[in-house]
């Protein structure tokens, strides 16, 4: 149970990034898949080089922001479609991540973890995606045992009180608060304005390029941070850990919006967090009882993608009913959705 909430928080943190790019800046940024793995890879590499965890996380956050800025640069300055620009950077990051890790995956070296962590190998020995995608019945049992001295807190603070949840909540809360505050500043308001009317912002002296770089940089910083935390939490980084993250993130954002109607902006940022936890919960239930209807772990991505299609389809039907746009996905599907 704790594991679900913890993973949900990490997923939620990642989805804040997706929320920023898709909902606030209104750009379908596909860099996310690469940035998530970049965050993980760089964080574990820096950590194993002897830096402490907060600094490693901070540096991987900056690297993620850099990747987002690169996507924005390709989009604005070289006039590459934002989808293609995202895919290009994602592809570049695949090779870069392999370079960073010097291989397809990189565990946190045992020596850098304090001796109190006897169960660390159990965690590190698992498939990196197991935590996120396969908390099925057999995995759930050992998870409980390890929960007492999880690795993340140990790595982050050097203590082992089993307070991962508290620590993760604090990190996520700080991120949400900072984002909320930022979006209320003059620059943040302008960024939100940019999402609804990019050309309009130019007539107030703010160049599109600057806002694109800011928006995508910020979004990918969150994704990268979340990737770093996930790698530290699960014990190692893997080059494929970001695969399909954009779809998962989008599903989480939409799930959050369904559960948490966005009346005020502050709630809008909380929605992905809640969505992340609920998503992990649903995932656990599906994994646990899904086998009865012949469900496999590998079907999850299909389900996630179908969920997004269903939400958009449902949104369109609603839109036609009310003639009032709710979902802003014009960047993907071209043309506004029933805007008045």
């Amino acid at each position: 149970m704790l594991g679900i909430v913890e993973q949900g928080l990490i997923l939620g943190l990642m989805s804040i990034g997706v929320f920023i790019s898709f909902r606030i800046v209104n750009m379908a940024d596909l860099t996310v898949d690469g940035t998530f793995a970049l965050g993980g890879a760089l964080c574990v590499r820096l950590f194993s080089l002897g830096l402490n965890a907060p600094v490693s996380l901070l540096l991987s956050l900056l690297a993620g922001a850099g990747a987002g800025i690169l996507t924005g640069f390709l989009h604005r300055k070289l006039k590459i479609n934002v989808l293609l620009a995202g895919i290009l950077v994602m592809t570049m990051l695949y090779s870069i991540n392999l370079r960073i890790m010097n291989g397809p995956n990189l565990p946190i070296p045992k020596t850098s973890v304090s001796a109190s962590l006897g169960t660390f190998e159990q965690v590190a020995g698992k498939d990196p995606l197991a935590d996120l995608f396969e908390p099925s019945a057999p995995v759930a049992a050992p998870q409980k045992e390890i929960a007492k001295h999880r690795t993340f807190e140990n790595i982050f603070l050097g203590t082992a009180d089993g307070q991962d949840l508290l620590l993760l909540s604090a990190i996520v809360l700080i991120c949400v608060a900072l984002t909320g505050l930022f979006l209320r500043t003059e620059l943040g308001t302008a960024l939100r304005g940019f999402g609804t009317n990019p050309s309009g912002l130019e007539s107030f002296g703010l160049p599109k390029t600057l806002m694109t770089l800011l928006g995508l940089g910020l979004a990918n910083a969150f994704v990268s941070l979340s990737g770093g935390i996930f790698a530290l939490y699960s014990g190692f980084a893997d080059v494929t850990m970001g695969q399909g993250m954009i779809v998962t993130g989008l599903a989480v954002v939409m799930l959050g919006e369904i559960l948490f109607v966005r009346r005020k902006l502050v709630y809008g940022i909380f929605a992905p967090i809640l969505g992340g936890i609920v998503y992990q919960g649903i995932l656990a239930v599906v994994m646990r009882y899904g086998y009865r209807i012949g469900f496999r772990a590998s079907d999850m991505k299909l389900l996630t993608a179908l969920f997004i299609v269903a939400v958009i389809g449902f949104g369109l039907i609603q839109t036609k009913k009310r003639m009032k746009g709710k979902f802003r996905l014009s960047t993907i599907f071209g043309g506004g959705v029933g805007r008045d």
């Binding site: 930022f182 209320r184 500043t185 003059e186 620059l187 943040g188 308001t189 302008a190 939100r192 304005g193 999402g195 609804t196 009317n197 050309s199 309009g200 912002l201 130019e202 007539s203 107030f204 002296g205 703010l206 160049p207 600057l210 802003r328 805007r339 008045d340």
Partner: protein, 260 residues
């Protein structure tokens, strides 16, 4: 003369697809001067070069030949965002001048500054709200309304207020009443007149609405096949300083002293 020329085009030509077979000269040797306080109406058929002229004035398009001076400064090499400091603009689409997903207050707060801004918390721009109350639409009472939920006329009115909050020298209007119903268009035109006459902001307006073209403005231009003719001229109408009922707007908004 003697009145400060806000906009000056000297021998400006714009050629599209220069050197190619289907080369098109959209603006031919335009030499114009617009003084402070002028209300210029531009009419002309589609494809005559009206929008090209507007693009030149907005620096979206650099003239192929000739120079565009704004405030006596050559604008060659300036970008849209740099020129935005002196120029306000409102276009045909009511959603293009505002930020539909943001509240009215947030819209005003974005508009009340020009250029790069930092991490200051946005404050309620008092001047903006008092300008908004001029409209008489009651928008100032519903500052938290989503701007996208306003009617077309209200959106255009808000867009015009947003365009003039931060003291532009010129307000460029490109068929800004075209998508409005007749009643709203008249309201928006009256607001345009008010902006010009009371605040002394130079207005350059493109329109296809001939009654408006006759009724408003002190200078009438016609563009045909890239050539600009002036067919009517009257001295601009402005208030003197003591008559300005809106001192919030600041002194620089007054017309030049020699203005009638």
């Amino acid at each position: 003369m003697g009145v400060w020329a806000v906009i000056k085009l000297s021998d400006v030509s714009v050629v599209y697809r220069k050197g190619e077979e289907n080369e098109k000269c959209a603006l031919k040797n335009a030499t114009l001067q617009i003084s402070q306080g002028d209300f210029v109406i531009i009419v002309g058929p589609n494809g005559a070069g009206k929008s090209t002229l507007m693009k030149v004035l907005l620096c979206e398009l650099a003239p192929t030949v000739g120079t565009y001076y704004l405030n006596g400064k050559s604008m060659r090499g300036f970008s849209v965002t740099q020129v935005a400091r002196w120029v306000g603009r409102v276009f045909q689409d009511p959603n293009s001048g505002i930020f539909p997903d943001l509240s009215i207050l947030e819209n005003l707060s974005i508009a009340s500054k020009k250029g790069v801004r930092w991490l200051r918390f946005r404050s309620c721009p008092q001047k903006a709200v008092s300008l908004l109350s001029l409209l008489g639409l009651g928008l100032e009472k519903n500052l938290n309304t989503r701007a996208g939920d306003l009617s077309g006329g209200q959106k255009q009115a808000l867009a015009m207020i947003m365009a003039i909050i931060s003291d532009p020298k010129v307000l460029l209007l490109d068929e800004h009443t075209a998508s409005l119903d007749p009643k709203s268009s008249v309201k928006v035109m009256e607001l345009t007149r008010q902006i010009n006459e009371q605040f002394g902001i130079t207005v350059v307006m493109i329109t296809h609405n001939m009654p408006f073209a006759e009724q408003y403005g002190n200078r009438k231009w016609k563009i045909e096949e890239g050539e600009v003719y002036e067919y009517e001229y009257r001295p601009p109408v402005c208030l003197t300083r003591s008559e300005n009922p809106f001192p919030l707007v600041g002194d620089q908004r007054r017309c030049a002293p020699k203005c009638v």
